[in-house]
Amino acid sequence: MLLEIKGLSKEYQRRGKAFWAVNSVDLSIGQGDFVNIIGCLGSGKSTLLNMAAGLLMPTSGSIRLNGTELYALKDKDISELRNTRLGYIPQGLGTLSTLTVFDNVRLPCFLSRRQGDASGRASFLLDEVGISSLADMLPSQLSGGELRRVLIARALMNEPDILIADEPTSDLDIETTREIMELFARINQNGTTILIVTHELDTLEFGNRVLTMASGQLTEGSHLGSL
């Protein structure tokens, strides 16, 4: 298994009372999977995703990426793992406003001090996601769909094992949503594993597996009725 999650829980305190955002979740994702996790707002899907991406310490449970226990790693090692083996696309705005599109895409390479042609790879990825003509622009000059393509290109910069996206189409129109999901499908066909959380039912056709998150618990399949 590429990603293996067992008994994963996250507890928050709300007005002095325990609140389980994620409660004893088990999940296994294999190489080449395209997994959609669907759920209502506040169901705990983003919390689960961010724990899986190494960005939020779980209260209990285990997350293994290619056999490596994520939260047993020191900051330096988990940072390196995020940089080289995980491609993360955050919800909403995720670009650095003071860097050009080209530099935003190249940034992960600088952070890993990876050898190789970073500029060449960034140009290739911008071409792949269809925005090579926007390379010198600043994020503030781009539309929502174009920004999302920048984030996808950046997430792919260091050739990660898995691409994790938090609500990647939540603020896009129907046509742009479709274009972005088709882009994810193409990336997946090239062999990259994809894990997406969403609350949009229209996007589910692009994955090969759907899970439903409700009240912090994850179940296999799309339980459309319960949503």
Binding site: D75, L81, R82, T100, L107, S112
Partner: protein, 403 residues
Amino acid sequence: MDNKPLNTVNIAFHTLKRKPFRTTGLILLVALFAFTLFGGTVLSQSMENGMDNLSKRMGADILAVPYGYEADIQSALLRGEPSTFYFDADTTEKVESVEGVEAVSPQLYIATLSAGCCSYPLQLIGFDPKTDFIIRPWMSGSLEHSLADGEIVIGSNISAKVGQKLKFFDQTYLVAARLDKTGMGFDNSVFMNLTTAKQVVWNSERIQAHPVAENDNLISSVIIKIKSGYTGKDVANNILQAYAKEGVHVVVAKNMISDISGSLRGLTTYILILAGVLLVLAVGVLIIVFSVTLNGRKREFSIFRVLGATRSKLVKLILCESCLISIFGTAAGITAAALVVFPFSTYISTLLGLPYLQPSPGVLFLMAALSFLISFATGPIASAYAAVQIGSSEIYTTMKEGE
């Protein structure tokens, strides 16, 4: 497309360049701090130097002046303010005969309204080169001959060179020597022998009446050196007992210096307290501003962490930005202070009304270097706490807080 490799410095530089309002504000804040630090230090050090110099090289122990003009002689000596007061020239012989007096030399003070060299009124001082013991020690370079008629010696702030000629009341006079920087009124005065001084007075008669033109036998003050074994106070009392009725009064140099020293101490203490309060305030404001600015950029920093920046890498990025701000701010502040303090030193010394002597270039360089180091350190120190705090926060939480 800019293919230059990304590194910490050029990422920080891009961030500063593309947020000009925020960057300029922070640079100005650091500049204000550097300006206060360097300007304040030079100012207080110059006043201390002026005081030291005055007490070391004053030369005279007592000054005899006409009754009622004690304050005027101080203004003339300290600030070079043109003053005119006179008594009979035979006061010199009378004072010389008083017990405890070793040497005496007369001086004649003439005020000009304008001169070719200067944009302000000048004090012209006639002295007797044969008996003088206070002007000669300040002369830079050697004046081979005794000061001849028509020749003048200029204070260090007078803009003329040795060999040039200066015009007073339509007559030209040859600059024969220049005085070292004294930090006193001498810097703004012009010296000549008594014959030349009287010549100047006669020429001035065409413009305005002058008592010396009507009575050739007048002088303004007598500088007095006392014999060893006597105190200034004793000899001053002797002079007063003998000649106070004739309108002769005395100023004891030591008393004058200790009076100035007292007011200088008060002023420097005031400046130091003010500078201290300003520095503490500036550091406090810098810490708050850096902290607020950095906390407003939480989402931006969490993106670096998402992409794989370690905590230390993030702290380095933040510190690099604040170092750049500090460098530009410090350089601007010190340059601005130098542009105010150095060209306007004469004006500042006049404004302060106290002896003012700038430190040597070497000391000034050291002061600038030290001010640079202290001011430069404020930016990184002010941002270090916020940087460490942001670096050690949970990434997802920081990202949500920054939304």
